[in-house]
């Protein structure tokens, strides 16, 4: 008994240290540190209003990154998500303009998102075509299909009640930020404490071993993609209700931004490793960097280069941290 307590006493400060040295902590420190540094240069950056605007305008990326992280942890990847968000936003907006009940316009993207992604997941899992091929193909199909169907006509005249993103809870927390937090916490909890949540890690870590543990990897893949579709639906909703115009085209490079958030958040592209808290923090960091560069008067021509360097630094810091951990 004494022996075990001893081990515990030894283990817990170590575990604390380990937690502090995690990718999530690193990102949280980066988010706060960057805010402080930029705040010193230009105090306006720290205004509540600005910080909340950074979150507000990018919450949809974080929400989509939650689903993307699950997909990547399960050993897959999805590059069609940007196109899908474009499609779902259009679906939702079209319904709203056609006068569908508001609740329908909000639920429709979720349902369609789940269906489209589950379909892709099924092709990947049961026909066994690599995810990158299916989603690359789907990227084209959705993108071309959207333009073909809508002719790129913008959706305007959206009813006021449609604008979910304008709702503020308790007069303080904007809906998108609220949803981002809820989605992250829910997903984090679910992936840690539910059996299906763990199967994502199992399948991503070693699909064959998972099969021998009684997990059905194909079913897990479909499940992960369906969930990803759900989060893409939420993201599309936030995207669509932000402005009073919906473009009916695919947001450029959105998939890359979302994947970047996931991998900077510490999700291993090889599958089996990562958390959604990390990816949400990374999405926030990336958004914060974009805003910070404007606030610090970095020449607009160099903004993207600086962004690239900062992402590179985050990634390399993570790799070095992991290596140090491995050798400790």
């Amino acid at each position: 008994m004494t022996a075990t307590t001893l081990i515990h006493a030894e283990a817990s400060p170590r575990r604390l240290l380990k937690a502090l040295a995690s990718q999530e902590a690193l990102l949280a420190i980066a988010v706060i540190g960057l805010a402080i540094i930029v705040g010193l240069y230009n105090p306006r950056f720290l205004a509540m209003r600005n910080l909340s605007d950074v979150l507000l305008g990018n919450a949809y990326i974080a929400v989509a990154a939650v689903g993307m992280s699950m997909v990547i942890i399960s050993g897959n990847i999805d590059i069609s998500v940007g196109s899908l968000i474009g499609v779902l936003a259009t679906v939702s907006g079209t319904l709203a303009v056609e006068g569908a009940p508001i609740i329908v316009t909000w639920l429709a993207p979720l349902v369609v998102g789940i269906l489209v992604m589950a379909f892709q997941g099924a092709i990947i899992a049961y026909l066994r075509i690599p995810a990158i091929v299916v989603t690359l193909g789907m990227l084209s199909i959705l993108k071309g299909g959207l333009i073909g169907v809508t002719g790129g006509k913008w959706i305007t005249d959206l009813p006021d009640s449609f604008h979910l993103a304008n709702i503020e809870l308790f007069d303080a927390v904007p809906m998108p930020v609220f949803l981002m937090i809820v989605a992250t916490i829910f997903a984090a909890w679910w992936m840690r404490y539910s059996a299906p949540g763990r199967t994502i890690y199992a399948v991503g870590g070693n699909a064959e071993a998972a099969r021998l543990c009684g997990i059905s990897p194909p079913r897990a893949t479909v499940m992960v993609f369906a969930l990803h579709g759900f989060f893409a639906g939420v993201a599309a909703l936030l995207y669509a209700t932000q402005l009073r115009v919906i473009q009916s085209t695919v947001p450029p490079n959105l998939e890359l931004t979302i994947i970047t958030a996931s991998v900077v958040g510490g999700v291993s592209i090889l599958g089996g490793v990562g958390t959604v808290i990390g990816s949400t923090l990374a999405a926030i960091l990336i958004a914060e960097i974009a805003s910070a560069l404007v606030f610090t008067d970095v020449s607009p021509y160099w903004i993207r280069a600086v962004q690239g360097v900062l992402i590179l630094i985050t990634v390399i810091a993570d790799i070095l941290r992991r290596r140090r951990m491995a050798r400790a």
């Binding site: 199992a202 870590g205 089996g272």
Partner: protein
């Protein structure tokens, strides 16, 4: 022998029986009508050469493959084992030969994947999971493996232990173990057998596969011998002897198991002085001479593989000195080690030794590409010749040179890994568990080969967890413990007791003697 009585007394149907199982893969008839049964509380051993079909048989019983024909019956009722989950529901737990683990997850989670304890709302109970894992570890008297360690950072031996924990955690009625001790030392084997005996007493039926005959005699009640996918015989262990089993297995007589010939020993090929590589290699000094076989014994995790990999340049040294034939060298990579004439046959053939999806031909030439290429261009004919020579020399059981290497049985894979290095004509051969998972016939073959190679002046450093092998093959035995070389014995001084005591350290050896 109380068990024999139990066997006779129970008129109840056997716990598990398989009837007339047939299974073929493209180009191979892996099983041709195999039947046998296991009673409640019986340990039933499966024996056979590499590729005899043992793993295939148990994979059918575990629901991994569907059989082409035949039936699996549990407690008198035929069961349809379409998926591994069905087998688990039928009370069957399996330790597979290939370590199938989740490298990114912790020991506890690996053990309980798929059947984790739940708390309210279907929530996983992490605390209970860790707690139960600790209990299992305690039951096996494993003190150096923590439930929270990430499996990817464990040595092969520890991974094998995790596999065992996983099977034990399922509270199965039928426990299948496919070479569970291949990566374990005697110390672990003893603990495992204690557990198996306890399970047996509880009425669990156990199928046990091993190439180590002594284990079969130590634990099994009956033994079934397979050869080329066919059922050859089922014997009661009490009524048979090793020689008979070997003959049944290979269909001929095997001479001596450890045909050690003493040879004149030449000058030093490898000299290591104060070699350091944190955290596991600490101030190691040793010498291996031409024509000499040096055995390296130690417990799981004692750092033998780490040492070998430091010499081989996988994890370059941080201090100390390595000399090859008197020349001081600094080895930064395996590529460099190879050009210096060092060969390393790693312990984990699945991930380190073999490129499983590539063909037998390609695997054979992998370490000797320079020998079959001219100016960087591969000479296909020379490559084929190299590979077919290797297949012949090592009697690799393969349908063709273009067979995917990963589809061969475990033992045949090992032969390819060994063969590919010998094709490079090295001066120093480091063997890490060279006969793990290899049948007696092939093992004798490999041992004979080692003798021949030494006779040709090759220096051999052999890491083995099988003490009889170390004792039988080595000119000298080094013992490692916690990253240091703690003892050295000449062939004549090395015995089970002396070497074992050095491996354990003083207090544990005292325990073992007691």
């Amino acid at each position: 022998m109380a068990n024999d009585q139990a066997l006779r007394e129970t008129a109840a149907p056997p716990r598990l029986s398989v009837y007339n199982i047939e299974k073929s893969f493209p180009g191979v008839n892996a099983l041709t009508g195999v039947s046998f049964n296991v009673a409640k509380g019986e340990v039933h051993a499966l024996l056979g050469e590499n590729g005899a079909g043992k793993s295939t048989l148990i994979k059918i019983v575990s629901g991994v493959f569907p059989p082409d024909r035949g039936e699996v019956i549990v407690d008198g009722k035929p069961v349809n084992l379409a998926r591994p989950d069905d087998a688990r529901r039928a009370g069957i737990a399996t330790i597979y030969q290939e370590l199938l683990l989740f490298p990114e997850l912790t020991v506890a989670e690996n053990v309980f994947m798929g059947h984790a304890p739940r708390a309210g709302l279907g929530r996983l109970d992490w605390r209970a999971m860790r707690e139960k894992t600790r209990h299992l570890l305690a039951a096996l008297e494993i003190h150096d493996l923590h439930a929270d360690r990430v499996v990817g950072s464990l040595s092969v031996g520890n991974r094998q232990r995790v596999e065992i924990l996983r099977a034990l955690s399922q509270d199965a009625r039928i426990l299948i173990m496919d070479e569970p001790t291949a990566a374990l030392t005697e110390y672990d084997v003893t603990r495992l057998f204690d557990i198996v005996r306890k399970l047996k007493a509880r009425g669990v039926a156990v199928i046990y596969i091993s190439h180590r005959l002594d284990e079969i005699f130590a634990i099994a009640d009956r033994v079934t011998v397979l050869r080329d996918g066919a059922h050859i015989a089922t014997k009661r262990v009490a009524d048979t002897a090793a020689a008979e089993l070997v003959q049944l297995m290979v269909g001929r007589k095997i001479e001596s198991l450890f045909p050690k010939i003493t040879l004149p020993i030449g000058g030093p090929v490898l000299e290591v002085k104060d070699l350091e590589r944190r955290p596991l290699t600490k101030r190691i000094s040793l010498t291996v001479r031409a024509g000499e076989i040096v055995g390296l014994a130690g417990l799981v995790g004692s750092g033998r593989s780490e040492l070998a990999q430091t010499i081989f340049g996988v994890t370059p040294a941080e201090g100390g000195e390595i000399k090859i034939r008197g020349q001081a060298v600094y080895i930064r990579s395996p590529a460099q080690a190879r050009t210096l004439g060092i060969a390393y046959v790693p312990e984990d053939r699945g991930t380190q030794g073999l490129v499983r999806p590539m063909t037998v031909r390609e695997n054979f030439s992998l370490a000797a590409l320079g020998k079959v290429a001219f100016g960087g261009f591969i000479d296909r004919a020379a490559e084929r010749k190299l590979a077919s020579d290797g297949v012949k020399c090592f009697a690799v059981k393969t349908s063709s040179l273009e067979q995917i290497a990963g589809k061969l049985s475990g033992g045949n894979q090992q032969k390819i890994v060994l063969g590919k290095w010998l094709a490079n004509k090295p001066k120093l051969l480091i063997l890490d568990e060279p006969t793990r998972g290899i049948d007696v016939g092939a093992k004798a073959e490999i041992h004979r080969l080692m003798g021949e190679l030494a006779a040709q002046g090759l220096a051999i450093l052999m890491i083995s967890s099988e003490l009889p092998e170390v004792l039988g093959m080595s000119d000298r035995v080094l013992v490692m413990r916690e990253g240091r070389i703690v003892a050295e014995f000449l062939r004549e001084d090395a015995t089970q007791e002396t070497v074992g005591a050095a491996m354990m350290g003083s207090h544990e050896s005292a325990e073992k003697v007691a």
